[in-house]
């Protein structure tokens, strides 16, 4: 850690990992609800669990991005963060908002209240006061980071990171647009949801990945930057009009079916480019960085993002296919692997990279961390397969044969049981990860001596 204010990232990462634990535990609970439909139905209904699962995911990923920015911007800009106080204030606002959201959802406080009650829009159901708090916190963050970057050295990594973070914050303003017309409501809703995960977040992902590659492989900055600009251009070119793949059946004009199909098919390209980038950098790299776990997470991130977001996204993005698969377990399969590969693994990569220096330790606990990578990734990949098979069966029974929804759900039970099993692996992996980065002060296994191959 070269700069004192990089320490801010520690607080962000710790809160992020705590919410990560909450997210996967709620996820596992929901996995059991799929197996036994009446589980917790009176106490904590499925829709509340789902809100907690998805909202805690989004908030912890955002906190991870903020932490990553506070960690890497000082190194890139070669100066301290403009104001550490503002950075901690921003985190406090986020924590307060998150607590407010959890309590409001769980107990349905202030139902129907304009300012204090939940709003009932998937992912954007936060009460208005929390939304306003998010905007204030985002403004504080952008001010803090932009001031740091403006006064310091400007690099492609900070340029793209700032572009992504500014876009992310500005697009969130559409969370306040809530027309009475349901089609229009959904149209603006996707401005936040899609243009985040398939637009601005991709820029954040590409820049953090570029930072990691720069540090871990020691490839020339010039080479990394060229890749980064190409990836950013490809992401925006395909991602912005790719929003059209959400406009097939919501009441928007029919031409969106073709705009959405064509542009969103190309969304696989930037994810392929990121995977190619990561592997080419590792092959070209001359540096033997001791943090092998961070490298594993980085490569895993790029690879699983390509499969989860790219391949599994393309699987059901053409409108002729989506006509049958829309809203089935195929969507859930894609959602899980895409979020895990692109954004969860990315955050865990930067946390793995940054934690040793934030905690003032050498690079330890590689074995436990790497074990958690395989356990968690194996779990999510297995979950993706079971849900893909469940979705295929569901599509055929429900959409082709026309059987009733709940009759089909009964027939999918075996897949949900297997999915629960994979969920157990993910939770164990997550707990192991958090333990591995936070607790051990020594390596658990003594490395053997390297001997040349015969």
């Amino acid at each position: 850690m070269k700069y004192q204010t990089q320490k801010i990232a520690l607080a962000y990462f710790v809160v992020a990992m705590a919410l990560f634990a909450v997210q996967v535990i709620v996820g596992l609970t929901m996995g059991w609800v799929y197996v036994d439909g009446n589980f917790l139905s009176g106490l904590l209904p499925f829709n509340i669990l789902r809100m907690l699962h998805s909202n805690s995911l989004i908030v912890w990923l955002l906190l991870g991005f903020f932490g990553a920015a506070y960690y890497l911007v000082p190194e890139e800009s070669e100066r301290e963060i403009h104001s550490p106080t503002l950075a901690y204030l921003q985190l406090a606002i986020f924590v307060l908002g998150t607590l407010g959201v959890v309590l409001t959802y769980t107990f349905n406080l202030f139902e129907g209240n304009w300012l204090l009650g939940k709003e009932g829009r998937e992912f954007l159901e936060q009460p208005k006061w929390v939304k306003a708090g998010i905007v204030v916190a985002a403004l504080i963050f952008l001010f803090n980071i932009s001031m740091t970057v403006l006064k310091g050295r400007k690099t492609a990594i900070t340029n793209i990171l700032l572009l992504g973070l500014w876009g992310l914050a500005l697009l969130f303003l559409f969370a306040f647009v809530n027309p009475a017309n349901l089609a229009l409501d959904k149209m603006y809703w996707w401005y936040v949801v899609h243009l985040w995960v398939e637009g601005t977040w991709e820029l954040v992902m590409a820049s953090i990945l570029a930072f990691l590659m720069l540090k871990l492989t020691g490839v020339d900055r010039e080479v990394v930057e060229k890749w980064l600009y190409v990836i950013a251009a490809l992401a925006l070119f395909s991602g912005i009009l790719g929003t059209g793949h959400h406009y097939y059946w919501i009441g928007t004009p029919g031409y969106w079916q073709w705009i959405g199909s064509i542009f969103s098919s190309l969304e696989v390209v930037p994810f392929f480019a990121m995977m190619a980038f990561a592997f080419v950098m590792v092959w070209k790299g001359r540096r033997d960085h001791p943090n092998k776990a961070a490298l594993l997470w980085s490569l895993g991130c790029a690879t699983l993002a390509f499969f989860g977001a790219g391949v599994w996204g393309f699987l059901h993005t053409l409108h002729g296919v989506n006509f049958y698969t829309h809203g089935t377990q195929i969507t859930a399969a894609h959602g899980h692997l895409a979020f895990y590969g692109a954004y969860v693994a990315l955050n865990l990569a930067i946390i793995t990279y940054a934690m040793p220096s934030l905690l003032g330790r050498d690079v330890f606990n590689q074995v436990l961390n790497m074990a958690s990578f395989w356990l968690m990734s194996g779990g999510v990949v297995f979950m993706t397969f079971t849900l893909t098979f469940a979705g295929t069966v569901q599509t055929h029974l429900q959409r082709v044969n026309g059987e009733a929804y709940m009759d089909v759900q009964d027939q999918l039970w075996i897949f949900y049981v297997m999915r629960f099993g994979s969920g157990v692996a993910v939770v164990l992996g997550a707990v192991l990860f958090i333990y591995a980065v936070m607790v051990p002060r020594r390596e658990v296994i003594t490395p053997g001596h390297a001997e040349p191959a015969e």
Partner: protein
């Protein structure tokens, strides 16, 4: 032969090539989708296509290709003043293209033809409309480059403009003639 060719390097800006390839992928996919949809209703598509003014589009092809030629000459031009006039000429021909295209759209509107009349017209408006948006962008880019022509910016502008040209040359036969 230019310096770039002599040294075996890619001429022009790398990012522009990324854009050009992306655009070709999009328009190519759109044209393939049009012809695929055509197979599902050959008579309907043929009947709709017969309303198109192929002669006007042919004139527009000549206009746009000539404009591309002027842009190519601007890249070769040694003096900035000559390059500027060639670029202005290229963007004026771009405006002529837009004028003829506007007349074509107006005629279609007068016939009561819209996006929803037939799938053919949806593809027609999508493909030609996207292309028109690129012509507008190209005219603006060439205009900016013409203010102070430098070899690098002129080359980048001409790269973009040739892509717009190429897309039209592909659109014209597939949408209007075949």
């Amino acid at each position: 032969m230019s310096r770039a060719q002599a040294s075996g390097q890619l001429p022009g800006e790398v990012m522009m090539w990324v854009l050009i390839l992306s655009e070709l992928a999009v328009f190519g996919a759109g044209l393939v989708a049009l012809r695929a949809a055509w197979l599902t209703d050959p008579e309907g598509f043929d009947a709709a296509q017969s309303h198109l003014n192929a002669a006007g589009a042919a004139v527009n092809t000549v206009v746009l290709v000539s404009s591309g030629w002027l842009a190519a000459l601007a890249v070769e031009a040694r003096e900035a003043v000559r390059a500027r006039w060639l670029l202005i000429g290229a963007s004026v021909l771009g405006l002529v293209f837009l004028f003829i295209k506007g007349a074509e759209y107006a005629a279609k509107a007068a016939e009561g033809i819209s996006f929803e009349t037939h799938p053919f017209w949806m593809f027609y408006y999508l493909l030609t409309g996207f292309h028109v948006a690129h012509v507008v962008a190209g005219v603006v880019i060439l205009g900016f480059v013409a203010v102070r022509p430098a070899p690098a910016t002129t080359e980048a502008g001409a790269q973009f403009w040739h892509m717009v040209d190429l897309v039209w040359v592909l659109l014209f036969p597939v949408v209007y003639l075949l």
